[in-house]
């Protein structure tokens, strides 16, 4: 697994500022792996080109979901690793944290995945991700000029997102 900025000496995370953006970047994928949206507010190291970066992110989450579902100690099924699961079935992971960032994840049963990468001291973002999903419904799904499955090109959506994310702790 490739970490962004993986050197031996871990750099200190940037101190969270009261105003200004605490989020680093955000991805939205649909169930076919198409990256519908990629927003970047604060990212200093870029190791891959955009296409590969998206594929890596999607692949990472796909595998993590599968792994967490199979390792679930409370689940009754004994599926094999690699057996395809229905979207949203089984347990779902919602975040992981490293010393430099926290990645929060939400997947809807329709396969829309929202990923938000923030500074590591961020709290539980599940409600925020739900709110972002609602924003997606209002500004993108209900937009008659948007074709489902295509990357999102909506200034209004981007603006509202930026405003909302800026307000996250």
């Amino acid at each position: 697994m490739q970490f962004f900025g993986g050197s031996d000496i871990s750099p200190l995370p940037p101190p969270p500022t009261a105003s200004g953006n605490n989020a680093h970047m955000m991805y939205v994928f649909n169930k076919n792996g198409v990256c519908l949206l990629y927003r970047e507010w604060n990212r200093s190291l870029r190791t891959l080109n955009a296409q590969q970066d998206h594929k890596l992110m999607f692949g990472l989450l796909f595998s993590l979901k599968s792994l967490t579902a199979k390792m679930d100690p409370t689940s009754v099924e004994k599926g094999n690793l690699g057996v395809p699961q229905l979207t949203g079935q089984g347990c779902s992971f919602h975040s992981f944290r490293t010393n430099t960032y926290k990645l929060s994840f939400m997947e809807s049963p329709s396969g829309i995945k929202i990923i938000l990468v923030t500074h590591p001291r961020t709290g539980d973002l599940r409600e925020s991700l739900k709110y972002i999903y609602n924003l997606y419904v209002e500004y993108v799904v209900k937009n008659p000029l948007y074709s489902p499955g295509m990357p999102i090109r909506s200034e209004l959506f981007n603006m509202t997102l930026d405003q909302y994310v800026r307000g996250l702790g």
Partner: protein, 186 residues
């Protein structure tokens, strides 16, 4: 933080923006009327209404999931209940009842006593083959396809054709699990 419980259809219906029921009925009637004029063949109109419903359904599912907070349904029975009690209530303001389960639990009927689309409507003799509410069958089919269920949705009873209620049969053909979309060597 525990995840929020799914909200009931009534609660959501009270919170969403609503339009005037008559406006809705008359607009739908105008659409069907126009389709009949443009396409002339009743079968073509049925197909077109189904297609329009499908295009609506694939978007409607996200709004449904976002507003109602339902998590993944464990089986098709739960899905049918969710559509009838929460979905129909949220979008049409009426609830349906779920009946006629077959032996494997893959086919059921949604029965609507009250249908806001058909107020004031009468089918003339020239359009006896028309499924006036076919848009609903498209919507259900489209929405379920986005949650990995391939279904076949047909009208069994239709009040405009003389039956006593609206009955929509939903048959689950198969569940399509998620696949890794990229080829491994790319």
């Amino acid at each position: 933080m525990a995840p929020a419980a799914p909200r009931s259809g009534d609660a959501i219906f009270a919170n969403v923006e609503r339009v005037n029921a008559e406006l809705f009925t008359l607009t739908y009637g105008a659409i069907v009327r126009q389709l009949l004029t443009d396409l002339e063949e009743v079968e073509e109109v049925n197909k077109q209404l189904d297609q329009m419903g499908y295009n609506i359904g694939i978007r409607l599912i996200d709004e449904f999931l976002a507003k109602s907070n339902v998590s993944r349904c464990v089986d098709f029975k739960e899905t049918a209940e969710a559509i009838a009690k929460v979905g129909f209530k949220m979008f049409l303001g009426v609830t349906a009842s779920v009946t006629n389960w077959d032996a494997d639990g893959t086919s059921c009927s949604l029965v609507l006593e009250d249908n806001p689309l058909v107020d004031f409507v009468e089918l003339p003799d020239t359009c006896q083959g028309l499924y006036y509410c076919n848009i609903l069958s498209g919507v259900v089919r489209g929405a379920l396809e986005m949650v990995s269920m391939k279904t076949e949705v047909t009208w069994i009873r239709d009040m405009l054709r003389g039956d006593d209620a609206y009955e929509l049969q939903v048959k689950l053909l198969k569940q399509v699990p998620e696949e890794y979309p990229y080829k491994d060597d790319e």
